[in-house]
Symmetry: C2
Subunit: 188 residues, 2 copies
DNA sequence: GAGTCCACCTTACTCGAAGTAGGTTACTTC
DNA sequence: GAAGTAACCTACTTCGAGTAAGGTGGACTC
């Protein structure tokens, strides 16, 4: 049911997708959709929740299987970019979650926060304690995590239409950039 | 006229905003809006175009006034974060441009590309020629630019609800992260 | 085994907002 | 002053989100 909705939403976009169409594809009548998911927004929310949960699962798994900090970073990113490649529709929904405005989106913020928290603690783990404490207090750790997430999302969108780029290559780019910084690229 | 629309769109969100309301606030009738901007999407598009143009103006100006690469980076980011702080509504629209799905958004991609191109050439400028050539060929330069843009957007969203953070501080965070990389934070 | 309840599902509606048809005013041009 | 036209409005159509009210079948009571 949610799967069907994901397909329709990602095909036409949230606004253009009609509940009637979804209902028909599911093989059920419209009031049923409203029974299960309160509203059109509710349905979209459920879809996004599902997609995010799946994304979270694969990245956490990848991270957990790593030993060093740098490897965790690389594996996590690789899992992320691979997910994008293999689940375009889910990814499309996650990207467009901004269509939800106001209160209902707050629950999603929680999910997102979990994502950044994962990265933040990850970074905290492989940082020496004193530096980590300072970074944490200033909010720098959170900021860095947010930055990583945003950068990767954008990178994923960019790489979508470049078929010569495998998830491995993109993850490699991201790791290099992140780990070494621009100073390295600049050669200084 | 566009200004009014920006206010309404950013207040209720694209879907919830009604053309009637906008028309009334403007002091004109609905068909007029359709005369000038083809459709609701068209109106939103015009608003976003306007907002993006303004954003682009201030960042380019900041970059042009800088001499070294690192300073250009810092000043550009500062201009960006200041813009966000001072033009919440415009920023809100830019963030939600994803509401436009399909063809009309292509024109926006162009604008966005200009933004990343600016960053890419900027980075190319302060990189030694040989390194730059290699980076360019592999697409790394573009990738880095995309990453920067995405990271900053996310960072901007995050910093919006933290009033203790001035644009200066956030820009500083971003510069440090970008320039030095995570390795620096990790203390290794 | 007839009556009653209830979960599940449908058809057929309301209502609000996007988009449009066609008319009106007022101003320019010859 | 008639013809044309630009700018604008009122009043409509259309479409889709959300809902009301009713029907069907199975389980449960006595």
């Amino acid at each position: 049911m949610i799967q069907v909705a994901v397909v329709v939403f990602s095909k036409h976009g949230y606004t253009a997708a009609s509940m009637d169409e979804i209902a028909e594809h599911v093989g059920v009548s419209k009031p049923m959709l409203y029974e299960y998911f309160k509203s059109k927004e509710g349905l979209l929310l459920a879809c996004i929740r599902e997609a995010r949960a799946e994304l979270r699962r694969v990245t956490e798994q990848a991270v957990a299987a790593s030993s060093t900090g740098e490897e965790a970073l690389r594996q996590g990113l690789l899992a992320f970019f691979s997910f994008i490649r293999d689940h375009r529709q889910s990814w499309s929904l996650i990207r467009h979650e901004a269509n939800l405005v106001g209160k209902p989106a707050e629950e999603l913020e929680t999910t997102r926060q979990q994502q950044t928290d994962l990265i933040a603690t990850l970074m905290g783990d492989f940082t020496d304690p004193e530096t980590a404490r300072i970074a944490e207090e200033s909010g720098l750790l959170q900021a860095a995590a947010e930055f990583v997430v945003g950068g990767c999302e954008r990178l994923a969108i960019w790489s979508e239409e470049r078929e010569d780029l495998t998830p491995e290559i993109v993850a490699e780019y991201a790791v290099n950039l992140l780990w070494g910084g621009l100073a390295q690229i600049a050669g200084r």
